[in-house]
């Protein structure tokens, strides 16, 4: 086990002093690293990072997102992905390379108000995110309840190697699609959906607490096999 020091921090608080190879959500003044967010600081011999507990969704390439179609032009749909940027789904990505605005009608595929699951295909500081539907399970969402949580708590909802999701799915007989932008689609029986929502609210509220998987299992009265659990019950692998 790597030696990890953890502490709760707020913006401006000194996280650590020294030389580190990697850092996340901190800013450096000479040898001093200050937190830029409210969260849990994790300090190892070569890294200093803060796992934030609140914040906006900033897209990353390959993220799974759930978004709402809010507009369209001749060449793309505009999608609200719960971020500071609207994303674009190019018509070519849906109709194929030989897409022509004269031949194909965008509204035949998706109308304003439709929900879609998509992958972030490209994004950088200078352009709005581009989405793609190529991949299994991507496309229009036709059923289920959509729940919004803080995007910073998504790793916690997924759990280490998916342990938390599995616990919730087993305890509720529902299927959960957890998108990186904080939207979760729950499908299954109504009672299961209600139970799943209460489990998600618990995870959101107590994201900073250790042995959270245990608590959720107790809430839903399920037992997940122990092997997938590690003692630290930490973050999802990046």
């Amino acid at each position: 086990m790597v030696d990890v020091t953890r502490k709760y921090v707020i913006p401006g608080e000194l996280v650590s002093e020294g030389k580190y190879k990697n850092s996340l959500n901190v800013f450096r003044v000479e040898d001093k690293y200050y937190s830029t967010r409210v969260g849990m600081a994790e300090i190892t011999p070569d890294s200093v990072r803060v796992i934030p507990l609140t914040g906006p969704y900033i897209p990353r390439v390959d993220d799974l997102v759930v978004g709402k179609i809010v507009d369209y032009s001749a060449f793309a749909w505009e999608v609200d992905i719960n971020s500071c940027f609207y994303a674009y789904l190019p018509a070519q990505n849906v109709f194929g390379r030989d897409y022509s605005p004269a031949r194909n009608e965008l509204t035949q595929k998706f109308a304003v108000g439709d929900l879609i699951a998509a992958k972030v295909m490209a994004f950088d500081r200078t352009r709005d995110p581009l989405l793609s539907l190529s991949g299994p399970g991507l496309g229009k969402i036709r059923q289920g309840e959509v729940v919004k949580i803080s995007p910073t708590k998504v790793p916690r909802v997924i759990g280490k190697k998916g342990s938390m999701i599995r616990a919730v799915e087993m305890g509720t007989n529902c299927r959960l699609t957890v998108a990186q932008n904080g939207l979760i689609v729950i499908s299954g029986p109504t009672e299961g959906i209600i139970k799943a929502i209460s489990a998600l609210r618990l995870i959101e509220k107590e994201a900073h607490v250790a042995d959270l998987t245990q608590k959720v299992q107790t809430l839903l009265s399920v037992k997940v096999d122990e092997k997938s659990e590690s003692e630290s019950d930490g973050e999802q692998e990046e």
Binding site: R6, K7, Y8, I10, P11, G12, E13, L14, N25, F27, V29, Y34, T36, R37, V38, G39, P52, L53, T54, G55, P56, C84, F85, Y86, R125, T126, S150, T152, H208
Partner: protein
Amino acid sequence: MSKSSITKLLDAKGVRHDGRKFNELRPVTMKVGVLENADGSAYIEFGKNKIMAAVYGPREVHPKHMSVPDRSVLRCRYHMTPFSTDTRKNPAPSRREIEISKVIREGLEPALILTDYPRTAIEVYLEVLQSDGGSRCASITAASLALADAGINMRDLVVGCAAGKIEGRVVVDLDDVEDKEGEGDMPMAILPNLGQVTLLQLDGRFSRKEFDEAFKLAKDGCMKVYDIQRKALMEKYFGAEETGEQ
């Protein structure tokens, strides 16, 4: 409403009209995450000041041509409800409110890492539900809590506290009466960990020595307020019992 005019702001023992010592703050309480819709929010009571702060963003800029390619645009509105003052205030923003909005925005900006959110806007709304002297200092303190609650990358929190002069004596944190009948007021805000002054205004007459005293009192006041501010943020995210190291 009807207020008997107070002639004596300091008694012979140096006690202020509300019973405070020269270096004593009014009671301060803060709460983080008080509004459902806002991305971040905070509520502060500072003496009789009651102020709500909310942050929306980072989000798309409207109108779009106002966006900046390499950073977020910070906007700030300080506004007083019509019932917040002794005499009813017209709800339309006054020149005073517009100026205060500007100094608060410029006092918050050094704390924010706006380059992390290019082409977006961050909006800070401050609503004074009741005002009692020192509302801009209380506002900036609440605003920085709301920004931290929204999870916007910050170099530090921002905390405000005023010093002033009554009956020839420099004191901390003037209330409404002391502000109106005293000889000087100096609101200030600082980045408590980085030690920068980000808001400073002054009206009245201070000698060079009195300024030094006022500066020190305001700074000490800020650090006392910071302690309460930090606890309020910790309490929202880690619970009441978890305000120290784990």
